[in-house]
Amino acid sequence: MTTPLTDAVLAMDEAGALQIVKDRLDAGEAPEAVLDDAKGAMTILGDRFACEEVFIPELIMGGEIMKGIATELKPRITADASAETRGTVVIGTVHGDIHDIGKDVVCMMLEVSGYEVHDLGIDVPVEKFVAAIDEFRPEVVGLSGLLTLAFDAMKDTIEGIAAAGKRDQVKVMIGGSPVDEQVCIYTAADGWGRDAAAALRLAAEWTASAAG
């Protein structure tokens, strides 16, 4: 179900969306309800991205509009909205690789789709992934890399997680332009993808089966 707010977000009408938010607040509507609508729009955007109806520009622009809406609403939301998440994902670009664009898009995609995402950044050492698994108890770990050097770094990281006795606690997905089935086998990851939509599919599959 769409509302004028979701329509405006999906049309990438930033000024229109922010105006609707202001108008609804001025009319006395609860900010939580407005935020829910905006989040709903982002979920639709994520679905459209997954089926290649929209692409990276819409995803990034949608995220920007959402940021603006959240800035408007945050000060007015008093109750600690302990929103339900679809699952927890720890993600980072593996050691030796400093590329972040692909990873950032995956993070945004997962966040708008309702996941709690812990982004460890770039050039992430194996120990940091292991520590993050301890700290955040994720269902999914995402390893990103753009360079072929990342293949060995991904393999190292997955071996490090196994050596720490945590391999059974998480599903590991690897992603990035040079990644394919062969790299997935080489690194002993549970799944692979080249884009954010693939990451979302894997996360959805794994968190659904973890819940079920």
Partner: protein, 419 residues
């Protein structure tokens, strides 16, 4: 090819393999021509990434050795920037081994919003001043002073008060420091260029052409990679499309001039054009048609017009863009592909573009020589009968490719690439 012929003739024979492929004629043998290397040739010689960047002479000798050892039909482009120059400039945009990266990690480029969202007008109004005063200080610390000083307008530097104007500017101690940094870079770059010149002479003496010298880019990539970053450029599609178009309009002749100038300066007609944001997934079909394709097409047509053989590297998957690529002039472009639906390519562009690249990095890194040979055989089965095929890794030969797999490329073209 026999070895008792003159080097010049040998080089011409090797180049003819490439030229035949570009013209979509069937060459004498399917050529094996890696587009560009970063550290494969140095690592295989046991040289650290740090030394590869700091010692041009050593780097080029490794490139010579790899070219002959692995049986390449030309010398690939060498795509590692000289580290001492980066150091002298205090580059913030490129990180390098022996700089703030470990000795055995390849150099990497840091994308950023170097042009802020509200700075289009300033850049468009006076690109030189904006570049000197605002952009360069963001890219390299040596240029910091240019951002601190109140740069006078250009006309003031041309008047009868010229000595006063120049003195006030150049007399500053921080400017002296900048010129010292530039002098250091100039010496390093000069040594690099001299080493490259000697190397080209040596390779010519051995009968090897050099892949390319010149590089240019297409307008949307210049904005997205070098000015605004992915986030900035993609939000500009919605927030300020007119300014984005205006900047691309300004950059188009500059990009063309860069390619043609490199050809005229070097005499090498092959100009490398790395392509980034045009790949599947980045832009919708409509966005590609509006923002990416016109600039790509303008650059390619103008280069061809000037006698250049454009060598665009279509990084990523360009299958969804085939209908556009099919419009390009046939037999003029050395198109290098990363990933592609081959059947669709052949149908749409088989009589327009070369099919160069494709052998997956994952196979080169984790596969066996038999698998690599089999892969090349299938490429030759698909394309070898019609010409236009050039063998190379999808991303050329990456650092982690196994040497035996790189050797297998040559074995495969010898075995399957000759009638």
């Amino acid at each position: 090819m026999s070895t008792d012929i003159q080097p010049g003739e040998l080089a011409a024979q090797r180049l003819k393999l490439f030229e035949d492929a570009v013209a979509l004629r069937k060459p004498e043998r399917v050529p094996l021509m890696p587009l560009a290397l970063q550290y494969f040739h140095t690592r295989v010689a046991g040289v650290s990434d740090k030394d590869a960047g700091y010692d041009a002479q050593l780097n080029f000798s490794c490139l010579r050795d790899a070219t002959t050892r692995f049986g390449w039909d030309w010398v690939p482009g060498m795509a590692v920037p000289p580290s001492r120059s980066l150091e002298a400039l205090g580059s913030k945009q490129i990180r390098w081994p022996g700089g703030d990266l470990p000795d055995d990690v390849q150099f990497q480029w840091v994308e950023g919003e170097y042009l802020k969202a509200d700075e289009y007008d300033a850049l468009l109004a006076d690109p030189t001043r904006f570049t000197l005063h605002t952009l360069w200080p963001r890219l390299a610390s040596a240029f910091g002073v240019l951002g601190e000083l109140p740069l006078p307008p250009a006309w003031w530097m041309n008047t009868m008060y010229m000595p006063l104007a120049w003195g006030a500017l150049l007399g500053q101690p921080k400017m002296t420091a900048l010129f010292e940094a530039l002098a250091e870079m100039s010496r390093d770059a000069g040594a690099f260029m001299a080493a490259f010149g000697r190397f080209m002479g040596e390779m010519a003496g051995m009968g090897y052409p050099v892949a390319f010298v010149g590089v240019t880019k297409v307008p949307f990539d210049i904005v997205s990679d070098d000015y605004r970053g992915l986030r900035g450029s993609t939000t500009d599609l919605f927030r300020q499309p007119d300014k984005l178009h205006a900047l691309m309009g300004m950059l188009t002749p500059m990009a063309i001039g860069q390619g043609i100038g490199a050809f005229k300066g070097s005499g090498n007609p092959r100009v490398f054009i790395p392509l980034h944001r045009g790949a599947a997934g980045f832009l919708s079909d409509e966005q590609f048609a509006t923002y990416y394709w016109p600039g790509l097409k303008a650059v390619i047509y103008a280069l061809i017009e000037a006698g250049v053989t454009p060598c665009p590297f279509f990084e990523g998957d360009y299958t969804p863009r085939l209908k556009y690529l099919a419009e390009l002039p046939p037999g003029k472009i050395a198109a290098h592909f990363d990933r592609m639906d081959r059947a669709k390519f052949k149908e749409a562009c088989g009589d327009v573009l070369t099919y160069w690249g494709d052998v997956p990095g994952s196979l080169m890194v984790t596969g066996t020589p038999a698998e690599v040979k089999d892969y090349v055989k299938r490429l030759i089965d698909d394309f070898g009968d019609t010409g236009g095929l050039i063998i190379d890794g999808a991303n050329s030969i990456t650092e982690e490719a196994k040497p035996e797999n790189v050797m297998a490329l040559r074995e495969a073209v010898d075995e399957y690439g000759v009638d």
